[in-house]
């Protein structure tokens, strides 16, 4: 950190207002090239790994499937297909526990041991020849979804709303969550695919330029991408300040092109399309071969794991399998799916890696207990949360209102619905008030009320 203070360039780089600087903790895995893990004996593939309607299974119990073969189809527009991540036989289609707790309909696949696991599916196509209008369908066929809890199908974002013109595509390579290095490694190792995917996305939404944005703690990634760009390329790469939550769509738009996405709108309202680095890279890899998503890169990291690193794992790999392979001795309570700021805990280690999961963070007992022993105080009005909120909300006031269950006032007067639950306010609060948790409750109560009336 200290050298950053002297780095004048850092301060000249774009950024958003406010935000926080949690310890980056990327050193565990930032220098580790992406590695492939062995196939697990069994995969669990939930039919709903995305926002929208669950996929519809195309296979029966007992059926043999080849790696890459579609095993479920999309059900309507806001839905995606599912492909077999490994060759094997469908053991069952039944309810299995999911990371968040509830049981979900899943395809359970027994993987053939000793199979070379080559991808036999797919045909080479000339992407340049695909008309822009067909690209959305092509992306839907890959089954790609966005990162994070919501896991919004990628192709849905490609449909530009009536009356909007998208001039710029932003590729989000900020990875502002501490610990995670998936996007960092992808940018370094698969820069060519990333840029190819970016061009496809530009064509699909009709944008004239694209900017790949990353934080300035990943300048090696900037170099790697620059190396594959043409002179005077319409695709460019730009470093922004390292600050959480730089990787939020709205913050990135502000930092890269100084546009504010209006409250309650999508980036398209200001002519932007925002996609993740991992998404763009996968598009660059899958579309030219007409294949579907069968695996993804996951950062497995944290002080509680023996061999932290960046690993390619098939979708559906049970978390326990990955952790066992990497030397883990704790329990599910040590595990966080995603980053420490916005990720969720898992109900059981037997739940699988899904398409939207980019990281497994394993904390150690010491961290957990210090965290749990943090004493709660009443709000002391310190204003730290107000100074941290990237949306310029007033978490302090909202926290007090949440205490009195004035959820509607929070939404009407204090812009509760603009809170995207980044957790910055809870992070800085010296009174250890669970502000984000309050806001989540408030939102869901409001939603239930709205639905009831």
């Amino acid at each position: 950190m200290s050298h950053k203070l002297l780095d004048i360039q850092h301060f000249l780089r774009g950024t958003f207002n406010q935000g926080i600087h949690p310890p980056e903790n990327k050193h565990f895995t930032a220098g580790k090239p992406i590695e492939r893990l062995a196939f697990p004996p069994q995969l669990i593939l939930p039919l709903s790994q995305h926002a929208g309607k669950p996929s519809v299974a195309l296979v029966r119990k007992g059926q043999e499937v080849a790696r890459g073969e579609p095993i479920a189809r999309a059900d309507g527009f806001v839905s995606v297909p599912l492909h077999a991540p490994a060759s094997g036989v469908v053991k069952d289609i039944c309810l299995m526990p999911s990371a968040r707790g509830p049981m979900v309909e899943s395809i359970v696949l027994d993987v053939y041991a000793g199979d070379p696991q080559e991808v036999l599916y797919g045909t080479d196509v000339d992407v340049d020849a695909i008309p822009a209008s067909d690209l959305m369908q092509a992306v839907q066929d890959t089954g790609l979804v966005g990162l994070g809890g919501a896991a919004f199908p990628t192709h849905v974002k490609l449909s530009v709303p009536e009356g909007c013109v998208i001039d710029t595509v932003l590729i989000n390579g900020c990875e502002c969550e501490p610990f995670l290095t998936t996007d960092h490694r992808l940018m370094i190792e698969q820069a060519a695919d990333l840029v190819a995917g970016t061009r496809i996305l530009m064509k699909a939404v009709g944008a004239q330029r694209a900017i790949i944005g990353t934080e300035d703690n990943k300048l090696d990634a900037v170099e790697a991408i620059q190396a594959v760009l043409k002179p005077d390329d319409v695709v460019s790469v730009k470093a922004v300040q390292t600050k959480y939550p730089q990787g939020a769509e709205k913050m990135l738009a502000k930092a890269l092109v100084n546009r504010e996405i209006p409250s309650g709108n999508f980036p398209s309202a200001v002519g932007l399309g925002v996609f993740n680095v991992a998404t763009a890279t996968q598009i660059g890899q899958l579309l030219p071969k007409k294949q579907g998503v069968i695996e993804r890169v996951v950062t497995v990291t944290g002080p509680g794991i023996g061999r932290p690193g960046n690993y390619i794992v098939p979708i559906g790999t049970p978390i326990r399998f990955i952790l066992d392979a990497l030397g883990f001795e704790g329990s599910a309570r040590h595990l966080i799916m995603g980053g420490p700021m916005m990720g969720g805990t898992v109900s059981s280690l037997d739940t699988p890696i899904t398409k939207g999961c980019g990281g497994l963070l394993i904390l150690n007992e010491h961290q957990l207990t210090t965290e749990e022993q943090m004493k709660r105080y009443p709000c002391i009005n310190c204003g730290a949360c107000v100074d941290a909120c990237p949306m310029m909300l007033n978490p302090c006031e909202m926290g007090r209102m949440a205490h009195k269950a004035q959820y509607e006032t929070m939404a009407e007067r204090y812009h509760l619905n603009d809170c995207f639950e980044c957790g910055s306010c809870s992070y800085v609060c010296p009174a250890a008030i669970p502000l984000v948790q309050y806001f989540r409750v408030a939102k869901s109560v409001n939603r239930t009320k709205a639905a009831a009336s």
Partner: protein
């Protein structure tokens, strides 16, 4: 499933600060100021500080126990109040009166409002305001610092028995025995206001003159404040706004001074280094609980306090205005917060029109 299902929600990391840690560091920052006061005024100052802190902590503990809740003294905030109460009283203030002031500051200033986080006013100033009203004479009786026997004997007024008025005759004899040239018993502020004598600002800055127990050394107060600001435990904007506005406003008046004769208005340097302004700006106006949270509000609040202080000093009946200025600022805080809600990211025109 053998393990208990435990679904915590994000964020799973916390920043470094906690309430007790912040409060503890404020105490650390106040220590040099307190030590300086002991060095300057001797045993009396020490007794004053110890009494005030003990009574504050004891009062808070007592009320917590009485209402059957866990004692909150471990958050250190009562210690801060105790220190501040002692530091804004005259060093020879009778101990029993100090104890009453300390009790009032916690009981009325804090517990009645619901404890830490709910108090509208800075508790120490509530105690001081009470003392100002109840013990008018002792609170305006100032002692010279650096008396040679200060570590051997108390200032006579210190040991006044409870519920009795201090013996000022004994005090006068004691003061005379010190044989300090030109000592009038007045603070630099009073001298300025009533006799138009301006003392050397540097002496004020270093703190070698008559004053409240801990208001004398602007330098040490500033250092304490800087320490806290660097650790992000104090909002630097508040002291900057208070001192800046006081400096500018009194500077404007200073320029109106007649060219001949004694100055009517003090120099801006005198304004910011004299009396309790420095201590108030750095350690009392910045009390988190009773100051605004919004970025703009903080500036307004600071400027309000700075200008009110100057106004009271120059035109009010009192020679010291910091206390009332901060209390007024505290009172205005909810309103300031309300009027200065930050413009949120992506606020739309439409929304603004609706609000208008």
């Amino acid at each position: 499933m053998s393990e208990a299902v435990q679904l915590k929600t994000s964020p799973h990391l916390r920043g470094m600060h906690s309430v007790d840690k912040i409060m503890r560091h404020v105490v650390y920052a106040l220590l040099p100021v307190s030590l300086f006061s002991v060095m300057q005024f001797g045993l009396s100052a020490l007794a004053l500080i110890v009494t005030s802190v003990l009574v504050c902590v004891g009062t808070e503990h007592f009320f917590c126990k009485r209402s059957g809740t866990e004692s909150t003294v471990s958050d250190w905030s009562a210690v801060i109040t105790g220190l501040l109460v002692a530091l804004i009283l005259p060093p020879g203030f009778p101990l029993w009166m100090a104890a009453v002031a300390a009790f009032v500051s916690i009981a009325v200033g804090k517990v009645f409002f619901g404890g830490l986080g709910y108090n509208v006013f800075n508790p120490a100033l509530v105690g001081r305001a009470f003392a100002q009203a109840a013990f008018t004479v002792p609170i305006t009786t100032w002692t010279p610092g650096m008396a040679h026997r200060r570590f051997l004997e108390f200032i006579p007024t210190t040991l006044t028995p409870p519920f009795l008025k201090p013996d000022f005759d004994a005090f006068q004899i004691w003061v005379e025995s010190l044989k300090i040239d030109g000592y009038s018993g007045a603070t630099p502020l009073a001298m300025m206001k009533f006799d138009h004598i301006e003392v050397d600002t540097l002496e004020l800055f270093l703190g070698t003159l008559a004053s409240s127990a801990g208001e004398s050394s602007a330098l040490l107060i500033l250092l304490g404040g800087l320490y806290l600001a660097f650790r992000k435990m104090l909002n630097w904007k508040i002291p900057v706004a208070v001192l800046g506005s006081a400096f500018i406003l009194s500077g404007i008046f200073y320029l109106q001074n007649p060219e001949v004769g004694l100055p009517i208005y003090p120099s801006p340097f005198f304004t910011v280094t004299s009396g309790g302004l420095m201590l108030g700006a750095v350690f009392m106006a910045t009390d988190m609980v009773s100051s605004p949270v919004t970025p703009v509000g903080v500036w307004i609040y600071g400027i309000l306090i700075g200008s009110l202080t100057v106004m009271i000093r120059l035109f009010g009946g009192l020679n010291e205005g910091v206390m009332y200025a901060i209390l007024l600022g505290n009172a205005a805080t909810p309103l300031i917060n309300n009027l200065t809600q930050p413009r949120i990211y992506g606020a739309t025109r439409k929304r603004k029109e609706k609000a208008a």
